[in-house]
C-alpha cells in the first residue's frame, strides 16, 4: 500500500508539470463552461445541473484519453517501464497507482466546475441532492474512462495511438446502446440482443445520477467495469513475460 501511495504521488506530480495535462484541463473547462452557460445557466431554466452532467459524458470521451494517453505508453517509449517493473513492486501496484494518479488529476480537473454550483446558488435556489449525486456519477464515470484510457495506453508506445484507441473504445461503450435502439430495425431476434447492449452501455447507467438517483446497480456497473479494465491492463503488462 505504501508503494501504491508513493507511485501515485509521482504520477500526480508528473501531471502537474506536464503541459499536455494543462491543455486537456483548459479544454475541458472551456467546453464544459460553454455548455453550462448555454444549457443550464440561463434565465428561466431550473436551477439545476442536469444538462451539463449529461453533456459531460460526451465531453469526457474526448478529454480523458488525452489525460491518460501518456500514462503507460510514455514509460514504454522511454524505457522507464524497465526500471519501474524491476523495482520491488508488483505489476498490480503499478497499475493501481497509475489509475489513482490519473483519476486524482481528473478530480482536480473537475473541481473548478464546482463554481457552477456557486453561480446557481447566487442566482437561484438549486437542489443540492441531485448536484451531489451528479458529481458522484461524474467521479464513477471518470474512473471508468480513466481505466479504459490506461488500458489503451498499456497497449502501445505511441501516445496518439493510445488516445485514439481509448477514444474508440469509449465512444462505442458510451453510445452503442442508443445507436442500436434507434438505427437498427426491430426484428424479433434482435430485441434480446438490444437489451443486452442497452445494459452494457454507459449512458443507461450514467443518466440517473444527474437526476438525483443513486442506484446500486449503476454504481456496481461502473466499479466492475473499472476493475475489469484495470485487470486487463495488469494482464497486458504481464504479457511481456510470454510475448
Amino acid at each position: 500500500m505504501g508503494k501504491v501511495l508513493l507511485l501515485t504521488r509521482r504520477e500526480v506530480s508528473a501531471y502537474f508539470v506536464s503541459p499536455i495535462a494543462y491543455v486537456a484541463m483548459a479544454l475541458f473547462l472551456v467546453i464544459s463552461g460553454i455548455f453550462f452557460a448555454l444549457a443550464d445557466f440561463r434565465p428561466g431554466a431550473p436551477a439545476a445541473m442536469r444538462s451539463i452532467f449529461d453533456i459531460m459524458m460526451f465531453i469526457l470521451i474526448f478529454i480523458l484519453p488525452i489525460v491518460t494517453m501518456r500514462s503507460l505508453s510514455e514509460e514504454q517509449r522511454s524505457g522507464t517501464i524497465e526500471t519501474l517493473l524491476t523495482a520491488p513492486v508488483t505489476d498490480i501496484e503499478v497499475v493501481v497507482a497509475k489509475f489513482l494518479g490519473s483519476w486524482i488529476f481528473y478530480l482536480a480537473m473537475l473541481a473548478p466546475t464546482l463554481i457552477y454550483v456557486v453561480l446557481l446558488a447566487a442566482f437561484g435556489n438549486p437542489e443540492y441532492g441531485p448536484v451531489a449525486s451528479g458529481y458522484l456519477g461524474l467521479a464513477l464515470l471518470g474512473a471508468l474512462y480513466v481505466s479504459i484510457g490506461l488500458f489503451a495506453s498499456s497497449l502501445t508506445q505511441n501516445q496518439v495511438i493510445a488516445a485514439v484507441t481509448a477514444f474508440v473504445i469509449l465512444i462505442v461503450l458510451a453510445m452503442l446502446g442508443p445507436w442500436v435502439a434507434t438505427a437498427v430495425p426491430s426484428r424479433y431476434w434482435i430485441i434480446p440482443l438490444r437489451s443486452i447492449i442497452k445494459y452494457a452501455t454507459v449512458r443507461t447507467h450514467y443518466l440517473d445520477f444527474g437526476q438525483g438517483v443513486v442506484d446500486l446497480v449503476h454504481v456496481v456497473y461502473f466499479l466492475a467495469l473499472t476493475a475489469y479494465a484495470l485487470f486487463l491492463t495488469v494482464k497486458v503488462l504481464e504479457s511481456r513475460r510470454w510475448r
Binding site: 508513493l6 507511485l7 509521482r10 508528473a14 508539470v17 526500471t83 524491476t86 523495482a87 520491488p88
Partner: protein
C-alpha cells in the same frame, strides 16, 4: 566463495529468434565481471532475465540465492539495475528522483536523505542535484542512472553498457567508480568493447550469438591463449640474397610452424611473423633453421597473448575458434 549470480542453461526465444542458447555461467560474490559480446549477442536479454523484467523460455537463473521467476521481488530487492540507455523521468529533479527510487526500493524514510547524499557524493552529482533530469547532459544522466542503481546499497549491481556514449574522461571516472564497488558489491556489467571491461573487471564472460563462448578470470583467459602465441623474427639473409618469399617458405617448413608472413623492413632486414601450430613453441626450431642457412638474426620473440585477438575471433565466428581449440 558464494555465487551471487547463477545462470543455468538459460534459453530465450523471441518468437522464432533465438536470443540466448543454453547459456550457463556464474558470478561469485564481490567480483566485478564483464559481460562482453558484440551488439545483438544476447547480453541485454540475459540481464533482463536476471532482473526479472523478462522470463526465460527455459533454464534457471538465481540471484543472491533467489530464483528470478519464483522469488522475483526478493531478487529485485537485491539488485541495482541500470538498463541500457539509462531511462529516467525527465520532469523530475535529480534529488527528487533518487529519493523516489530509494523509497520504492524500501530504504526506510529516516535513512533516505543520507542514502541520496551518499550516492550524490559518490557519483559526482553535487552540482546538478536540483536540476531537472531532462536538462542534463548524457554524462550526467548516466551518473544519475548509476546513482539510482546504488541508492539502496544492493548486494548485486547489473549495469547494461554503463559507459556507452560517454567521453573519455567520463569513461575513466565511471570505470574508477565501478572498480571501487568491487568487494562489497557483486557487479555484472555488459559492454561490446573489450578495452572498457578489460581495465575494470577481473573476470569476463564472453557471449556471441546467444552462446557463452568463454568465461573466466582475465589471467585464465590469457593463459588459454598462450598456446597460440605468434613468434616475431627479424632477420637478414645477407649475401645469400634470398627474398621474403624464400624466407617465408623456409619458416613455414620449420617444425611446429603453421604459417608465416614476411615483410621487408629496409636495409635488407626482413620481419617474419610465424603462426605456431597448436601447442607448439617453434622458437628453437626457427633459430636452428636460420643458423643452418647462415642468415643473420637480430630479434626473436613471442607476442604476448591478447584478449582482443580472442574476442575478435569469437566475434568473427565460432568456427574459427573451434578449429584453434581442436
Amino acid at each position: 566463495m558464494r555465487a551471487m549470480i547463477e545462470i543455468d542453461n538459460l534459453t530465450k526465444w523471441y518468437g522464432n529468434t533465438l536470443a540466448l542458447d543454453r547459456a550457463t555461467f556464474s558470478v561469485e560474490e564481490g567480483r566485478i565481471v564483464g559481460f562482453l559480446g558484440p551488439n545483438g549477442a544476447g547480453k541485454s536479454t540475459a540481464l533482463r532475465i536476471l532482473t526479472g523484467f523478462l522470463p526465460a523460455t527455459s533454464g534457471q537463473a538465481r540471484v543472491n540465492g533467489h530464483d528470478v521467476l519464483m522469488e522475483s521481488l526478493a531478487v529485485r530487492s537485491s539488485i541495482g539495475y541500470m538498463p541500457e540507455n539509462v531511462p529516467l523521468y525527465p520532469e523530475m529533479r535529480v534529488e527528487e528522483y533518487l529519493a523516489f527510487r530509494a523509497a520504492l526500493k524500501d530504504v526506510p524514510s529516516a535513512k533516505r536523505r543520507a542514502a541520496v547524499d551518499r550516492v550524490v557524493q559518490r557519483c559526482w552529482l553535487k552540482e546538478v542535484r536540483r536540476r531537472l533530469i531532462g536538462q542534463l547532459s548524457k554524462g550526467f544522466r548516466q551518473r544519475v542512472g548509476l546513482a539510482e542503481a546504488l541508492v539502496a546499497d544492493p548486494p548485486v549491481l547489473i549495469l547494461d553498457e554503463p559507459t556507452i556514449g560517454l567521453d573519455p574522461t567520463q569513461i575513466e571516472e565511471t570505470r574508477k567508480l565501478i572498480r571501487s564497488l568491487g568487494g562489497k558489491h557483486t557487479v555484472l556489467l555488459s559492454s561490446h568493447l573489450l578495452p572498457q571491461v578489460e581495465k575494470t573487471c577481473s573476470h569476463l564472460v564472453i557471449i556471441a550469438d546467444g552462446q557463452i563462448k568463454a568465461a573466466g578470470s582475465l589471467d585464465e583467459l590469457k593463459k588459454g591463449l598462450a598456446h597460440r602465441q605468434q613468434v616475431v623474427v627479424e632477420l637478414r639473409t645477407g649475401d645469400a640474397g634470398e627474398g621474403p618469399a624464400e624466407v617465408g617458405r623456409a619458416l613455414r617448413q620449420v617444425a611446429g610452424a603453421a604459417d608465416a608472413t614476411t615483410e621487408e623492413m629496409g636495409g635488407g632486414w626482413l620481419r617474419a611473423v610465424v603462426m605456431p601450430a597448436a601447442d607448439a613453441d617453434p622458437r628453437e626450431a626457427i633459430w636452428a633453421a636460420v643458423a643452418q642457412r647462415g642468415w643473420q638474426l637480430r630479434e626473436i620473440h613471442r607476442l604476448a597473448p591478447t584478449l582482443e585477438e580472442l574476442y575478435a575471433r569469437i566475434v568473427a565466428g565460432e568456427s574459427a575458434v573451434d578449429k584453434e581449440a581442436a
